[in-house]
């Protein structure tokens, strides 16, 4: 499995917006700043807008603005905003046919196990705030 690039792109964009706050930044400027693609970035940022993590304004001198304090944005909410499906998803597709009842039950066990893991991952993300990430970046300067 691979947690998608979308999460890291989203966090980089948030970092960029935090650094340039309170000036609105358009998608092209952000994309140049973080080494991404403006069109793809708009797709990602629109999800952050829907989740009230950032705000957007149309028209000349419009762009994106961070909507919360950096110590109020944690990784889990960014993750949930950006990933429409569970990133840590176990493929335990249905067993077809008869006479494999035990194999079917095993699928259920795996689903339970991996939903536990999913919860743990999200709990861990919930403890990491944007300002923690920014601090760590600055520490390594």
């Amino acid at each position: 499995m691979s947690a998608s690039k979308k999460l890291s792109t989203a966090v980089k964009a948030l970092y960029f917006l935090a650094e340039t706050d309170p000036e609105p930044q358009n998608s092209i400027t952000i994309a140049n700043g973080i080494g991404s693609n403006a069109s793809k970035l708009r797709q990602i940022l629109s999800m952050l807008v829907k989740n009230n993590i950032i705000k957007s304004t149309y028209g000349t001198n419009g762009g994106f603005l961070i909507a919360k304090n950096i110590n109020e944005i944690h990784l889990q909410e960014v993750y949930c905003a950006v990933e429409d499906r569970k990133a840590f998803y176990l493929d335990v597709s249905e067993v077809n046919g008869t006479g494999m009842e035990d194999a079917k039950k095993m699928n259920g066990l795996f689903l339970n196990l991996f939903s536990d893991i999913q919860v743990e991952i999200e709990n861990k993300m919930r403890k990491i705030y944007l300002n923690n990430i920014i601090e760590q970046i600055k520490l390594t300067n």
Copy 2:
């Protein structure tokens, strides 16, 4: 990300071998028993052989045999045997170009974070033994 189907197939095969122990079972029999494909199954089982989780014998009446006690096989070693790369892998591909030093550092942070998560997942798997899985299946009969 998606933890591959290979893990659940491997566990189902191990369960099948545990139930039929000590009779060697060939790939066709196991595949029929767990609803899989004999060829794909051989690919998976050959990895378990290399990791000494099961044994294989060639020739007539040959097949696969479980090589350890079911309370000595935990999920993490099956997972490691079967997945050549980390299943919970975050795509934080390199940032190209200059002037995006912070974005590059962020990739490093993400890699650290997700390697932490990887470790946690594997620790969790290390506590789950084949006999635990079998017990749970029988409990729901």
